[in-house]
Symmetry: C2
Subunit: 273 residues, 2 copies
C-alpha cells in the first residue's frame, strides 16, 4: 500500500514533519510518499500546493494525508478545499489551549524554530565551538568547564552525541577516545582523573564496531573482530571498576543517546526549545 503525505507549514516545516513522522511510524506495511511544503506564506503558494495535492489524489486514487501547522486562516481555508485529508495541529490544540489559558493566541508565524534572542544564540554557538575544540581528545585543557565528558573507544558514537548535545541543548560536551595506550595500564587516563564525576562511558557491541570500522579501514588490525572485542571488553571492565555510568550505543540513535545521558545523569540543559 502506498500513500502520499504532505507536510504543510508557514515556516520551516520542522514541527509539521516531526508531528507527521511520529504519527506515521505508528503504521506498518504502508509506504508513505512524503512531500515537504514549508514557507507556505502566500495565497499563490497555497494554490500551487493545492494543485500538487490534487494531482497526487488523482494519481493515487485516494486522499493524500496533510499534516499542517499552518497558522494563517486564509491559507488554511485554501488548503481545506483541496482533495487531501487534513490533520490540523493548531486547530486540534489551539482552541482548547485558549480556553484553558483564557487568552487569545497570537497566530504569529515562525516562533517555534526562530531565533530566541542574543543570549540563547550565544549559548548555542559557544556550545558548538566547545564541542568542536574538545572533540576526540584534541584538547584536554578546558575540561574544567565541561558539563560532561564522553569517553569510549574509537567509533562508539562520541562525536555525534557531543554535537547533538551542543546544538539542541547548549550543553558543553567534550569527548576523549580511549585508545590502546590508554587502556594498557588499566587505569583511567591522567587527563580524565580530576573529572571523574563528569565522565560518561559509551560502549558498543564488538560485532557492530567491527562493521563500522571496516567501512573506514577494511582488513586492518583496527577493524579486526579480535581487536574490536578486546577494546570493548577492556573499556567495559574499566567502566565497571571505576564506577562510570555507561550506555551501549549499538542500536540507539544519536537522539536516544543524548536524551538517555541527560536522563541518567541529571545533566542540566542550557537551552530549552
Amino acid at each position: 500500500m502506498k500513500r502520499s503525505v504532505f507536510f504543510l507549514s508557514d515556516h520551516t516545516g520542522i514541527t509539521a514533519e516531526i508531528l507527521g513522522h511520529s504519527l506515521l511510524t505508528q503504521f506498518e506495511g504502508i509506504e508513505f510518499k512524503q512531500t515537504n511544503i514549508p514557507f507556505l506564506d502566500s495565497k499563490s503558494k497555497a494554490l500551487k500546493a493545492v494543485e500538487q495535492i490534487n494531482w497526487a489524489a488523482e494519481q493515487d486514487a485516494v486522499k493524500p494525508l496533510l499534516f499542517s501547522t499552518l497558522l494563517d486562516n486564509e491559507i488554511r481555508e485554501i488548503i481545506k478545499n483541496s482533495e487531501g485529508q487534513l490533520f490540523d495541529f493548531f486547530e486540534a490544540f489551539i482552541d482548547p489551549l485558549e480556553e484553558v489559558l483564557n487568552t487569545r493566541s497570537t497566530h504569529a508565524i515562525g516562533r517555534s524554530h526562530g531565533i530566541k534572542g542574543y543570549d540563547t544564540y550565544k549559548t548555542r554557538i559557544d556550545a558548538i565551538n566547545y564541542a568542536l575544540k574538545n572533540d576526540d581528545g584534541a584538547s584536554t585543557r578546558n575540561y574544567h568547564v565541561a558539563d560532561i565528558i564522553l569517553i569510549g573507544v574509537s567509533r562508539s558514537g562520541k562525536t555525534p552525541t557531543c554535537l547533538y548535545l551542543a546544538l539542541q541543548y547548549g550543553i558543553l560536551a567534550a569527548n576523549y577516545p580511549l585508545t590502546e595506550e590508554d587502556l594498557g595500564d588499566a587505569k583511567l587516563p591522567a587527563p580524565l582523573r580530576p573529572y571523574r564525576n563528569r565522565l560518561f562511558g559509551l560502549t558498543i557491541d564488538a560485532e557492530r564496531l567491527h562493521q563500522i570500522r571496516s567501512e573506514r579501514r577494511k582488513n586492518s588490525l583496527y577493524s579486526s573482530q579480535e581487536q574490536c572485542k578486546h577494546e570493548v571488553n577492556t573499556v567495559e571492565e574499566l567502566y565497571q571498576r571505576e564506577n562510570i555510568t555507561f550506555l551501549n550505543t549499538s542500536s540507539v540513535s544519536i537522539e536516544e543517546i543524548a536524551t538517555t545521558i541527560i536522563n541518567l545523569t541529571g545533566l542540566k540543559r542550557r537551552l530549552y526549545g
Copy 2:
C-alpha cells in the same frame, strides 16, 4: 501569570517538547515553568509523575498543562487521573488516522527518534564527518562530493549550519571562509571556482557581526565596526557580481538558515525524519 507545564513521553520526549513548545509560543505574557518527564515507561514512574503534577497543581492553585505523546494505555490512564489538563497528541490524531488508513496502529514506543537501520545511521555519520573535515576551509580537496558549500565572512553562521544540515538531513555540507586575502582581488577564490553551482552565500549585518566578533576579540581590528562593515560590503558585492544566492543570518536561527537554504536551492535531503 505563571503556569506549570509538563512534557510527558514514553521515550526521548523530543516530539512532546517540540509540539508543546510550538503551541506555547503562541501565547504571550504567560511564563511557563517547564518540566520534562521522558522515559515514562512503567506504572511506578507514572505514579511518581502524577505526584509531581499534583504538587504543582496545589502550589499554583491552577491546573498544570500536560503535553503527552504517551502510547501505553495503562500509563495514559494513570496520567489522566492527575490534576493536570491533558493535551494528548496521539489521542487527537491516531484514531482519525486509523480510520482514514483503515489500519490499526502499533502503539510501538520509541519509533520517531529511534535508530532507523544501518544505512540511515551511516548516511548521518558520514555527513557529520564530512562537515567536520570540510569545516572552515580546512580542506578543499573533497568539494567534488559536496552537496553544498557555504561561503561567508568569519562568524556569519557557516559552521553551525553545516553541522545542522549534516545531523538532521544527512547533507554533505562544506564551508569556506571568505577572508581579507580572498576578497582582495575581488574574484571568487580559486578552490571555489569549479563548484560555482554548489555555492551558497551567508551574510550578516555589520553591527551584529561587530557584536559577535567583539565577544571573541574585543578591541581588535578583526572585531572593529569599520572592518566588519568593509568585509560585509565586499562579500555582498561578490555575491551579486557572481550571481550567488545569499541569505542574511542576522536574525534567523540555525534551523531557519538550514531550511531556507534547502528551500531556495532545491537541495535534496539524504535523510527524512
